[in-house]
């Protein structure tokens, strides 16, 4: 039997890689893929909790997370298309209209 902690470590590692990609990549599409990576990291931990606690509610939560991820991908990619139409670039460090 694999200990639950191993799954949680794997999930934390995938989440960490997602955070790193989101903070450091210039390409906005890869940034969105990093967000999907983070969601998948959380899903792994929820499914392993569901298995080890013998409770199906974790899998229900994963079901809702996948739904929201699909909605988020559709909206996010539409935003990227609108951005690309106005700025014709996909690099986040070239978008500085708000002087942030």
């Amino acid at each position: 039997m694999v200990p639950l902690n191993w799954y949680l470590m794997l999930s934390a590692a995938v989440f960490m890689i997602g955070v790193f990609g989101f903070l450091t990549r210039r390409n906005i599409i890869i940034m969105f893929m990093s967000v999907e990576l983070m969601l998948n990291g959380v899903n792994i931990s929820l499914i392993s909790f569901s298995h080890y606690l013998q409770d199906l509610r974790g899998q229900i939560l994963v079901f809702f997370i996948i739904t929201v991820a699909a909605a988020e991908a559709a909206i996010g990619l539409a935003i990227i298309i609108a951005l690309f139409r106005n700025k014709s670039t996909a690099h986040v460090d070239e978008m500085n209209e708000m002087k942030g």
Partner: protein, 171 residues
């Protein structure tokens, strides 16, 4: 022993593939590695007795979301993309933040104690079948969140159409 070997293979491949996803210069390669990553995660779900979620993972993530990503990658100017630097200038700061989050989570995991198991044991699920057991909870206890999820998807459809629509100049 065999289970640990199996998990080890999946863990190593998943971490390696996620590193490949965020470090490739060509976004098309990133999407392809991500496809392989999602299949491996679905395999891990099967290993954890979550067949329905594994099927959803393959259908929704690998089948729908990644195709959407591929369509948007087509917009990019790949020749320019292959020449510019892939990380922002302050990437060490991002690395420090990510490693700090990882350290915090690992420290929390070390003091983690598992709660007593619930009633959905493997025998129960085997008797009721996995999808039916899941559907029973989803349509009774979680009926209201389920309806809200449908609303979220509706708003996503409308929002995507409105955002991606070409502006027509009427004046």
């Amino acid at each position: 022993m065999l289970a640990k070997l199996f998990f080890g293979y999946y863990a190593v491949v998943i971490i390696f593939l996620s590193l490949l996803v965020i470090t490739r210069k060509n976004p098309v390669h990133s999407v392809m590695w991500m496809l392989l990553l999602f299949f491996h995660i679905a395999g891990l779900y099967l290993f954890l007795n979550a067949e329905f979620i594994a099927a959803i993972q393959v259908i929704v993530y690998a089948g729908a979301i990644l195709v959407l990503f591929l369509f948007v990658v087509l917009l990019l100017n790949l020749r320019e993309e292959l020449q510019v630097e892939r990380f922002v200038g302050s990437w060490p700061a991002g690395l420090i933040i990510a490693v700090a989050i990882f350290a915090i989570v690992v420290n929390v995991i070390r003091s983690f104690v598992l709660a007593p198991p619930g009633k959905y044991s493997i025998e129960y699920i085997k008797e009721a079948t996995h999808t039916k057991a899941l559907g029973t909870i989803l349509y009774t206890e979680y009926l209201f969140p389920f309806e809200i999820a449908s609303l979220v998807l509706l708003i996503a459809i409308i929002g995507a159409i409105v955002l991606a629509k070409r502006k027509t100049r009427s004046h």
